[in-house]
């Protein structure tokens, strides 16, 4: 990887998550008949938080202060691993998608511990929900990418997302994996119908409740990490459906990925405008739907043995 490519990858990681949040907010605003804020509104919000002095409760320890740093660092590492354009990425190695899942797990653990450290039963409830949902989300992720890896023989993001000869089986597997990743995006990033990022009702909150006690730069780090996570999943979905790769056609590949990421943001916004939150006890069932869609790839690959090329 040369310096300009790395720079482009880093620029994407820095700017696109902010734009992605803006597109979702704008979609929801337009659907509600409003003009909505600027597409870049998240940037001044983050800058405003960065200028503020953080406030720490006397009940918290070093864990509470370390949590935002660990969450942001682990999510940034995840973003470096995942190419937002197929073939364009940072450090990649064999089975890096397993390391990706572990890094995401580390970020989740830090977030949960940070929430528990406040000794607030309210935040503990959110931490418990987050940990419970992770047990359903991770198998879906491994099943979706594992099936693709097993069928294609590629074991790193660098080669896994690069488009292959478009056979019926390849396309079906990619579409099913993309669909499973979209459901995972809603689960992992706390979007409707799983969680409502704008609500402050204690009975329904998951992600937002865990960051209630954070302020200033710590809150900015957590907000940026959340946007980054959304961008990673949107980038993965766009990458899976992208017909070009960076090596063969850089400009069409980058444009197709940008359009794909934008389409995912619009889809997230539309779902949030049209669908109500599901009851919290049924959220694991929603996770099971993601697993079933992911295992649909396994089923298709198994049933079409010898039938599809």
């Amino acid at each position: 990887m040369n310096a300009p490519t790395l720079l482009l990858h880093a620029l994407g990681i820095l700017l696109l998550p902010i734009l992605l949040s803006g597109v979702i907010t704008r979609t929801k605003a337009i659907w509600a008949g409003r003009k909505g804020p600027s597409l870049w509104q998240t940037a001044p919000d983050l800058l405003r938080l960065l200028r503020k002095q953080p406030v720490y409760s006397t009940a918290t320890s070093w864990m509470f202060r370390a949590a935002p740093v660990v969450v942001l660092a682990a999510t940034l590492l995840c973003a470096l691993m995942v190419p937002w354009v197929p073939g364009l990425h940072g450090p990649g190695f064999e089975y890096d998608f397993v390391a990706f899942a572990y890094l995401a797990g580390l970020a989740r653990m830090a977030m949960v511990l940070g929430a528990l450290d406040t000794a607030s039963s309210f935040e503990g409830m959110g931490a418990s929900r987050e940990a419970t949902l992770a047990t359903v989300a991770e198998p879906a992720f491994f099943l979706a990418l594992g099936t693709l890896a097993a069928m294609s023989g590629h074991t790193s993001f660098q080669t896994l997302l690069v488009p292959e000869t478009p056979t019926t089986l390849n396309v079906t597997l990619r579409v099913l994996a993309a669909l499973a990743l979209f459901l995972l995006l809603q689960l992992e990033c706390g979007r409707i119908p799983v969680d409502d990022p704008t609500t402050h009702l204690e009975l329904t909150m998951i992600h937002e409740v865990m960051i209630l006690d954070h302020s200033g730069p710590d809150l900015a780090a957590l907000m940026y990490a959340a946007a980054l996570k959304l961008f990673i999943f949107a980038g993965l979905i766009a990458g899976l459906l992208n017909p070009w790769s960076w090596e063969s056609a850089p400009l069409p590949a980058a444009l197709a990925s940008l359009v794909g990421i934008g389409a995912v943001a619009v889809a997230v916004g539309l779902v949030e405008s049209l669908v109500a939150r599901i009851r919290i006890r049924f959220i694991p069932h929603y996770g099971l739907v993601a697993v079933m869609v992911a295992s649909g790839g396994t089923l298709v690959a198994a049933l079409t043995r010898g039938l599809l090329p």
Binding site: S128, T135, V136, P139, R281, L288, T298, L299, A302
Partner: protein, 204 residues
């Protein structure tokens, strides 16, 4: 190895069909013993990693884990019935299809290696069974059992794959397993919330 894999599948059916936490714990214990036999048969030379793995399988998975949970659930006098899969025809069809798809998928990956096909299919089915249980169980006891079933499936895949972790990592994995079991036992010993009888509380 094939016979042991088939026995592993039988123990999985035991956990699924007996609809009792005692049945699930016995099945998990038997699976630990079967995996220990597999490691013993497949190890050519004894080193620290295989010793720690064997100790983990025999002590933690076969004896300590199931017996600690047995005592905890027994002392709490919880309801004997735990359905790993709820009695719902649609759900059973989905679960069966998923399990069979796992075997067919493995057959596509390893068309000439029946042993490897059986191993991958069994591990896949076991993990999916645990996942279904985790999603549909609303009690802590049911969720812990689901988690242990998944754990056993993943370990089965690792053991039969011939890939052993370094001894210190394996020791840490074993410690995490025992920690989980002790935490579950401790949590199930806590008094139930009012209005919840013979239950160790609901999550979510």
């Amino acid at each position: 190895m094939n016979l042991l894999t088939i026995l592993f599948l039988v123990t999985m059916a035991l956990a699924l069909l007996f609809s009792s936490w005692r049945g699930v714990l016995v099945a998990l214990s038997l699976q630990g013993a079967l995996m220990a036999c597999m490691v013993t048969l497949s190890t050519d030379h004894v080193d620290a990693a295989s010793l720690v793995l064997l100790t983990d399988l025999v002590l933690a998975r076969t004896v300590l884990g199931p017996s600690i949970l047995w005592q905890a659930f027994h002392a709490r006098d919880v309801d004997a019935t735990v359905e790993m899969l709820p009695a719902n025809l649609f759900l059973w069809c989905v679960a069966t299809t998923t399990g069979v798809a796992g075997f067919w998928f493995a057959a596509r990956l390893y068309p000439t290696d029946l042993a490897q096909t059986t191993v991958v299919g069994a591990a896949f089915s076991q993990v999916m069974l645990g996942l279904f249980s985790l999603v549909y169980q609303r009690t802590v006891m049911g969720q812990v059992l689901g988690l242990l079933v998944i754990e056993s499936g993943i370990l089965f895949f690792e053991v039969t794959g011939g890939h052993h972790l370094p001894w210190f990592l394996q020791a840490m994995v074993s410690a995490v397993f025992l920690g989980l079991v002790l935490l579950a036992a401790r949590f199930s010993a806590m008094p139930a919330a009012s209005g919840v009888e013979n239950d160790v509380g609901e999550v979510l």
